[in-house]
């Protein structure tokens, strides 16, 4: 298949022109729709699952969080309470370290390794001029990240990669619990279900949630689902 061959060669690509079938119609020749799509690839040339796609997925999440906290720490809201800037600075440091770590282990396989500039994320939907707005945004991003890591583990095939993401995952959960408490005391367990398990999200679900912040259409079509 032509489209698949492209991904085999390119891995993940920014602003690549790919074809999306606009549903299955009865017409003999459905018209392909050209779009710019960011699709991480988790299959090698033989069609075997590899971890590059999920590691890139995690890398994107760390980029998003790092960019958010960098923006907040660079211009913190005036009504932050005592100690809160220190929390936010720690959060920024952790996410930047996560980002640089994943970028390093991906090397040339990082989706943006050939890009002149990294993606610019948009946070205009957040209110970053008040402490409540900042912590509500942090809570949203940390909950997404925690749920994403919870769902990503089983999609990995290399043990070292599972450990690498698990080491980051619990730190994200710690972050999320703190962000919850900054918004509302004792709400640390808000995402925990009736079964005592935390939230889990698939890459497809996560992409829907983070799409508003990302300036290119995200696709989980080339990521594994089990």
């Amino acid at each position: 298949m032509q489209r698949r061959s492209f991904f085999k060669v390119a891995g993940a690509s920014v602003a690549a022109s790919t074809l999306v079938l606009a549903g299955c119609s009865d017409e003999p020749d459905p018209t392909p729709v050209a779009e710019n799509i960011l699709a991480f690839n988790s299959f090698d040339a033989q069609g075997n699952v590899i971890d590059d796609g999920i590691l890139n997925y995690a890398y994107l999440l760390t980029q998003l969080e790092a960019a958010f906290y960098q923006k907040v720490v660079a211009a913190p809201p005036a009504d932050l309470q005592q100690g809160e800037l220190a929390y936010l600075t720690d959060l920024r440091d952790h996410e930047l370290i996560h980002r640089e770590y994943l970028k390093a282990i991906l090397g040339s396989k990082a989706y943006d390794s050939g890009a002149a500039t990294p993606l610019e994320f948009t946070f205009t939907s957040f209110t970053l001029t008040t402490r409540v707005g900042v912590w509500a945004a942090a809570q949203q991003l940390e909950d997404i990240a925690a749920a994403a890591y919870n769902g990503a583990g089983k999609l990995l095939v290399v043990t070292a990669n599972l450990l690498a993401l698990a080491k980051i995952a619990s730190v994200e959960s710690r972050h999320a619990a703190l962000a919850h408490e900054m918004v509302q005391a004792d709400s640390f367990g808000a995402t925990i279900g009736a079964d005592g398990l935390d939230d889990t999200k698939t890459p497809t679900e996560v992409f829907v949630l983070i799409q508003p912040f990302v300036p290119i259409k995200l696709s989980a079509a080339n990521l594994p689902i089990s």
């Binding site: 932050l80 100690g83 919870n150 619990s170 005391a185 079964d195 990521l223």
Partner: protein
């Protein structure tokens, strides 16, 4: 035309394609989503149904996976009994936010016990580990000096021991994760419990530094909600030091700054971040033997 290849190719574009062909899978997917909305009382039986569908009878679970789940079950019992006893001790836990939080945590641990029993095919009524197995003062049933003599009379000591258990739990689940990779359903569940333990640990740390009792900043700087270096031994000094220390070969201490073979503190020195940030950014796993030795401090007898 190779229909299987076609479906496989479509799947790359439409991950849901199998749902459209296979109603059994669709049912399973919907059942998974229902878990969050079911009343807790109905959950254990429901989970049994999901687990049976996901990977058949418990007897077919590989021994290695059963061993990890059994070990996790004992740790969950330890935590559940600890919180339950604390909450039942008059005058220990103040009413309000603290009591509410510890009740939530206690209930989560109880659900983890139920969950793991279901996964292992153990009936809900079976008590696998009795409460009498544990001595949370650390005196091992009065056979040695207590490590935390005031654990049930001093709220701060109680919180300190609680944090120690949760931080241990995070490391233990992370250490066990690699052994569960053969079974996606169990691995995902274990990672979810791991995440819950981390949220608990974070909250207990926030409680210990004195905030927030209302929404807002904590009143103290220490302990942070995440693990800094080896925590100077942690909440109980030399007694809790192994919780943050190195385990068996391949399990470095929490002050580790080398990830994936790269010393991040050196490689990223241009960021000018404090050294502590590089340790805080990663939680380290711990091996079963080291976890067992930590937990044995709170067990009556020589085996867990």
């Amino acid at each position: 035309m190779n229909i299987l290849k076609l479906i496989s190719d479509i799947e790359k574009v439409d991950p849901e394609v199998y749902d459209r062909f296979d109603s059994r899978r669709k049912v399973f997917k919907h059942m998974t989503g229902m878990g969050k909305t079911l009343a807790s009382a109905a959950v254990p039986g429901f989970l049994g149904a999901v687990f049976n569908k996901a990977y058949g009878q418990t007897s077919t679970l590989p021994q290695g996976i059963q061993d990890i789940l059994n070990f996790a079950l004992k740790l969950e019992y330890l935590e559940y009994y600890f919180y339950n006893k604390g909450l039942a001790t008059t005058g220990l836990i103040p009413s309000g936010a603290g009591r509410d939080a510890l009740s939530v945590i206690r209930d989560d641990e109880n659900k983890h016990v139920a969950f793991l029993k279901t996964a292992l095919g153990i009936s809900a009524a079976t008590v696998v580990v009795p409460e009498s197995k544990f001595d949370f003062t650390g005196s091992k049933g009065g056979t040695r000096a207590a490590l935390f003599a005031d654990v049930f009379s001093n709220y701060q000591t109680f919180l300190a021991v609680a944090q120690s258990f949760e931080d241990t739990g995070v490391r233990a689940y992370k250490g066990g994760a690699a052994g569960l990779m053969a079974n996606d359903t169990i691995l995902e569940a274990a990672l979810n419990i791991h995440s819950v333990e981390a949220r608990h640990a974070s909250h207990l740390r926030t409680m210990r530094r004195g905030g927030p009792t209302v929404a807002g900043a904590g009143t103290g700087a220490s302990p942070k909600s995440w693990i800094t270096g080896t925590e100077s031994g942690g909440a109980g000094g030399s007694i809790t030091a192994p919780i943050y220390g190195a385990g068996a070969s391949g399990f470095p201490a929490e002050d580790n700054v080398t990830q994936g073979g790269v010393n991040l503190q050196t490689a990223l020195s241009s960021l000018n971040f404090p050294a502590t940030a590089f340790t805080e950014a990663f939680d380290e796993p711990l091996d079963g033997t080291t976890v067992t030795n930590i937990v044995l401090n709170f067990v009556v007898g020589t085996t867990l």
